[in-house]
């Protein structure tokens, strides 16, 4: 069960990551002072881009690997009183709508080149580009500002997304540098990654705790609701338990009405999680429709499609099942 790189090739790649030119990745949000993403008070770094498309996702801005234009209608001053973006855009991506049509600005995403000309003239920040290319060092510097809070609370940095391991070399760099500076590291993952990728392995070596999503045990339903099959995820969970036996895992299950909110499904998920010795806890997270407005802001067609918020009494019932399963 070695977590060492397997071949000399990977060793070389590893070396390049350690010594080579700094990489950047797109970050869509850095949340300081979070008390919900791993132990203690934490800084959560959201990496942009995710291979999954979970229907209930409340961070749709994390889907794509490219920067995106965000347009908040209700922050917009409007074409009549402002309209600076219309003049700024050289590609005709922003158009004036017919009178009486909301803010009066229409975004034509298919012609937008993300040049940022509109965002720099937008006084109200109604138009912004979400996804900032950042160096790992800059991110770790920001996370380091709250060192006092981590020390007092047992907190640290949490890498989230999107899927952070979709950019394994970058994730590895952040996690390694964070650990070098004495920060506790948490990796929040969907489980959809390449377990054999040397950078993934390096990431895991520099991770103190994994928050691992298990959404469903049924492959068909899983594909239907998240766009990917779950066999790789389950396999990765098992391998994580085998190949990194000392790395603690907290299993997390978003409970989505109509998808996995039955006693039976939750019990099956709980049994799977309980079968991995390094899974030290299993949390249920209720589905919340707090991201609805975001979909329209990014020009996405549906909003947490068909999902409903989960009511607490049911959540408590299901949590009890998990508790009983885990003993």
């Amino acid at each position: 069960m070695s977590d060492e790189p397997r071949t000399s090739t990977t060793r070389e790649i590893n070396g390049a990551a350690l010594a080579g030119r700094p990489e950047t990745a797109l970050i869509f949000h850095i949340q300081k002072g979070s008390m919900q993403d791993g132990p203690g008070i934490r800084t959560v770094v959201f990496l942009k881009g995710c291979p999954l498309r979970c229907r209930w996702c409340f961070n749709p801005e994390g889907f794509r690997f490219q920067a995106e234009l965000r347009f908040c209608k209700n922050m917009c001053i409007g074409a009549a009183d402002c309209g600076r973006c219309l003049d700024a855009c050289e590609y005709g991506a922003l158009q004036k709508a017919a009178p009486g049509f909301g803010s009066g600005i229409i975004v034509q995403r298919q012609v937008c080149r993300l040049c940022g000309a509109c965002t720099s003239v937008c006084p109200s920040q109604a138009i912004s580009i979400v996804g900032e290319a950042m160096h790992a060092d800059a991110i770790v510097d920001i996370a380091g500002q709250d060192r006092d809070f981590y020390a007092a609370s047992g907190g640290g940095i949490t890498l989230s997304g999107g899927e952070p391991l979709a950019r394994p070399a970058f994730a590895a760099e952040i996690l390694r540098k964070s650990q070098e500076r004495g920060l506790h590291t948490v990796l929040a993952t969907s489980g959809w990654y390449d377990m054999d990728n040397p950078y993934v392995r390096e990431s895991l070596r520099h991770t103190d705790l994994v928050l691992f999503d298990i959404k469903h045990v049924d492959g068909v339903l899983h594909r239907q609701f998240t766009s990917v099959d779950n066999s790789r995820i389950i396999e990765n969970l098992r391998r994580l338990g085998r190949e990194f036996p000392d790395l603690p895992i907290i299993a997390r299950t978003p409970v989505v009405p109509g998808f996995n909110d039955t006693h039976k499904v939750i019990e099956e998920i709980a049994l799977l999680a309980a079968s991995i010795p390094s899974v030290c806890d299993h949390e249920l997270l209720p589905c919340e429709l707090v991201g609805e407005a975001k979909y329209a802001q990014f020009g996405l067609p549906h909003t947490q499609a068909g999902s409903r918020s989960l009511e607490f009494p049911l959540l408590e019932e299901l949590s009890e099942i998990v508790g009983n399963t885990r003993g």
């Binding site: 949000h29 002072g33 008390m35 008070i41 109200s124 006092d148 809070f149 007092a152 997270l285 707090v290």
Partner: protein
């Protein structure tokens, strides 16, 4: 769904019954104290002031209506049944000589008068007090230029809101009585001490000569009045017991009669007696004077502990009884409201705000943790109290036990609005720097809103003067003019800012205006200090003060030997508003060139109307509270400038003035009359409160707020004190035991960073509904959900539901 506690909900039957009787009653501004006080005062003009005051208070206590209401266990009140306030005609009573002010219900005023009361005001109070009140005395002592800054258009009952004197809407800044003395020695003990000091006055001893006789006589008068006041209650209880059909209540009344025949004259023998003695003492202090925040409860878990412990050991007291007695004490305070007769007082104490500041925790004289069993019970009683009383504060220090801190956090999470925190790690060193010994500094208690007192060392009592920092900024923008000025400028002529070529030039103009306004403020405070000894006396609080008793001087004389060298309290209002405005000016005009000064002035003069683009530029400029070094540096420079300016001066009492950030509600009142500002704030909106960031400006979460606030503190300065900090907490973000521990850790970092004060307020439905109508003030929300990336402007109804909804184990 998370819900803060609603009214008249208590696990204790008696508490519910008493509270239900008064919660909805229309507050009455009682004239009884005024009538009796004045009747005595009229007849004593030949006597020294301190003795007159004592005799007047004694007259009140011997003649005011004494009644005991059903269910009460701690008896005594200062007004009619229900919620009441007390009128103090000596402060601003001449106001009623203005036409239209003598109405049963005056528009905009929260209280009402009965027609009998109005007759008393008209026929008994006004003829005596018109021309003698403190307001008039101060107003006519101020030089013209200063008077214009304080009062609007020469009307001494309308504050200008440039600088706001509060010295004449109350007798004193804020105060806490030495209840321990009353409990341990009784007024009999103080009476004996004063008598002995009076007996030993010596015409050949300059330090103990006959000039002190009036003071010691006054103390004797007050002590005897305390005894008689209690005896009147004993008699009332006994009479009521005799005709009481309910055997249970009869027994209670007999107990009350026994207690009141003993305390506060004799030392208290039981916990119940200690509470009764405490209440009689603070009630009498209310007859004597009105203090800012009314009068504090001090370190209740310390001075009440010995008798609590004794009663518990003797089996006389159990937990339930303790809680019931504490409730009865708090309910007495809850029925009292700070009712200000004039708009001047009303604006600064909106909502009739009063704080019986109740201090828990902290350290003992030897530096060890002071938390005990009673601290926990007081905390619990506050959590279970159906009304927001008393104002509980926890003295935080690095060794505060984790289990107690978690109890405190759970109390905050219950949504009851308390407790708040004061920080030993900051306050004790600040007191040490002012020359106080370590052991004594460790015994400070909270007072007023977020200030502190050493109750046998402090003597400074002149009410804070608040400075409208935003109006000062306006003076720099409009060459001496501000929203409050009419034709003549209220500030200095610092030049047309359109001609300034750099940010530094603008900042220089601003600081020049600020220096002028601070000096005018200090002058006003100095003048007030000099008037106090001839205008007021406080024989009761002086009797309980070591220095006053030893030196034979009333505390209102102020400059006592060995007193804490402190002076004028300069309250800065709108700190973040102005830091943000300065940052916006630098960023928009001198760095980014998004507009020029001419444009900015035009936009502000139109209150942004028709200039939505510019308003957004202003709003989106960098803001204080986000750990942005360049902005925090502006705040730091501003604080240092003000503290250093104060350090150049010595007050009338020989101490340094102090910069404090304790707005009470001045930020609302001052904001109401201040024009649009470069930070994007519209005219009339509230200014920022205390040292907290502007509403809606903290976009980087609560940890960044703490870093920024710490960054602006001028640690090396000595002319500084309270800094009020308010941080909103989304309930969902701190749910469960994990949330409790994290919030506790947050508080520990706050302590280690050496902040002064912290109020964590739980967001509730009302707040979030208001916010959703004004989304700009709520554009950035603290994190509350696992995995959720909160982009600006996401307060949807679903989001509100999510923030407020909590699982069942929320409080744990």
């Amino acid at each position: 769904m998370y819900r803060p506690e609603t009214a008249v909900n208590s696990p204790r039957e008696r508490t519910r019954r008493i509270a239900a009787r008064f919660v909805d009653s229309q507050p009455l501004l009682s004239v009884e104290r005024a009538r009796l006080f004045t009747a005595s005062f009229k007849t004593t003009e030949h006597l020294p002031l301190v003795l007159r005051w004592a005799m007047a208070v004694a007259h009140v206590m011997r003649h005011i209506d004494v009644r005991i209401f059903p269910d009460e266990l701690i008896v005594g009140r200062g007004g009619p049944e229900g919620r009441y306030g007390i009128l103090y005609p000596e402060l601003e009573g001449a106001y009623f000589s203005l036409s239209g002010t003598l109405l049963e219900k005056q528009e905009g005023m929260p209280h009402q008068f009965t027609s009998d009361d109005l007759a008393v005001i008209r026929d008994e109070l006004l003829p005596f007090w018109a021309g003698r009140t403190f307001r008039e005395s101060l107003a006519y002592s101020l030089p013209d230029d200063l008077r214009r800054l304080v009062y609007k258009d020469g009307d001494i009952y309308t504050p200008s809101m440039v600088i706001y004197e509060s010295a004449t809407v109350r007798h004193s800044l804020q105060w806490v009585l030495d209840y321990k003395k009353v409990i341990e020695r009784g007024f009999e003990g103080l009476h004996a001490e004063a008598s002995e000091l009076l007996r030993t006055l010596d015409i050949n001893n300059p330090r103990h000569n006959w000039d002190k006789a009036p003071f010691y006589r006054a103390v004797i008068v007050i002590c005897e009045a305390m005894r008689d006041f209690a005896l009147r209650h004993a008699e009332c209880a006994r009479t009521m017991a005799a005709s009481c059909d309910d055997p249970h209540r009869r027994q209670e009344l007999e107990t009350i009669a026994d207690i009141c025949s003993h305390v506060p004259w004799k030392p208290a023998r039981t916990f119940h007696e200690a509470l009764q003695a405490q209440w009689f003492t603070q009630l009498a202090a209310r007859f004597e004077q009105m203090h800012g925040g009314i009068v504090g409860n001090g370190r209740v878990d310390q001075y009440l502990y010995p008798l609590y412990q004794k009663d518990r050991e003797a089996g006389r007291l159990n937990e339930a009884k303790t809680m019931e007695l504490l409730d009865c004490l708090w309910l007495n305070m809850a029925q009292f409201l700070r009712l200000q007769p004039t708009i001047a007082g009303l604006q600064i104490y909106e909502g009739n705000a009063h704080w019986e500041h109740t201090t828990l925790g902290g350290v003992l004289a030897d530096g060890k943790d002071a938390v005990n069993e009673l601290s926990l019970l007081v905390l619990r009683s506050r959590r279970e109290m159906p009304l927001p009383y008393p104002d509980v504060c926890v003295r935080m220090h690095p060794d505060l036990p984790q289990d107690f801190l978690e109890e405190v956090v759970q109390t905050i999470k219950s949504g009851c609005g308390a407790p708040k925190f004061l920080n030993d790690a900051e306050i004790i060193p600040v007191l040490r720097a002012k020359g106080i010994e370590e052991a004594e500094a460790r015994d400070y208690c909270g007072s007023g809103c977020s200030e502190v007192r050493l109750i046998n060392r402090d003597t400074y009592l002149t009410g804070t003067t608040w400075v409208n920092l935003a109006a000062v900024l306006e003076m720099a923008l409009y060459n001496g003019h501000c929203s409050m000025s009419t034709d003549k400028p209220l500030g200095l002529t610092t030049g047309d800012p359109r001609k300034f070529t750099s940010y530094e030039a603008f900042e220089e103009a601003f600081l020049t205006q600020l220096r002028y306004i601070l000096r005018q403020t200090l002058k006003q405070l100095y003048i007030t200090d000099t008037l106090r000894p001839s205008q007021m006396a406080a024989p009761l609080i002086s009797a309980l003060h070591d220095l006053c008793m030893a030196q034979g001087r009333d505390i209102s004389e102020g400059n006592l030997e060995n007193s804490l060298r402190s002076g004028c309290q300069v309250g800065i209002t709108g700190f973040a508003t102005v830091v943000d405005s300065l940052a916006a000016i630098r960023y928009l005009i001198y760095e980014q060139g998004l507009m020029d000064m001419d444009r900015l002035l035009q936009v502000l003069s139109r209150n942004f109307e028709g200039f939505e683009v510019e308003r957004h530029h202003c709003r989106n400029a960098p803001k204080y509270g986000n750990c942005i070094a360049a902005v925090d540096a502006i705040g730091r420079k501003l604080e240092q400038f003000m503290v250093e300016e104060c350090q150049l001066h010595v007050g009338y009492y020989g101490g340094q003035p102090q910069i404090i950030y304790v707005p009470v509600t001045s930020h609302i009142a001052m904001g109401r009359v201040t024009g649009a500002l470069p930070n994007g704030r519209r005219a009339g909106e509230a200014l920022s409160a205390g040292i907290s960031p502007s509403p809606g400006a903290a976009r980087s979460g609560p940890t960044a707020v703490l870093h920024s606030v710490a960054e602006t503190k001028y640690e090396a300065g000595t002319a500084r004190a309270a800094r009020m900090l308010d941080i909103p907490v989304p309930p969902r973000g701190v749910d469960g035991p994990e949330g409790t521990r994290n919030l506790a850790a947050f508080i520990r970092v706050w302590c280690a960073q050496k902040h002064w004060h912290l109020h964590l307020h739980m967001e509730d439905e009302a707040l979030l509904r208001t916010a959703s109508n004004d989304p700009e003030k709520f554009r950035f929300h603290p994190p509350h959900l696992p995995g959720y990336a909160s982009l600006p402007n996401d307060l949807t109804p679903e989001m509100i539901r999510s923030i407020l909804s909590c699982p069942q184990n929320f409080l744990e």
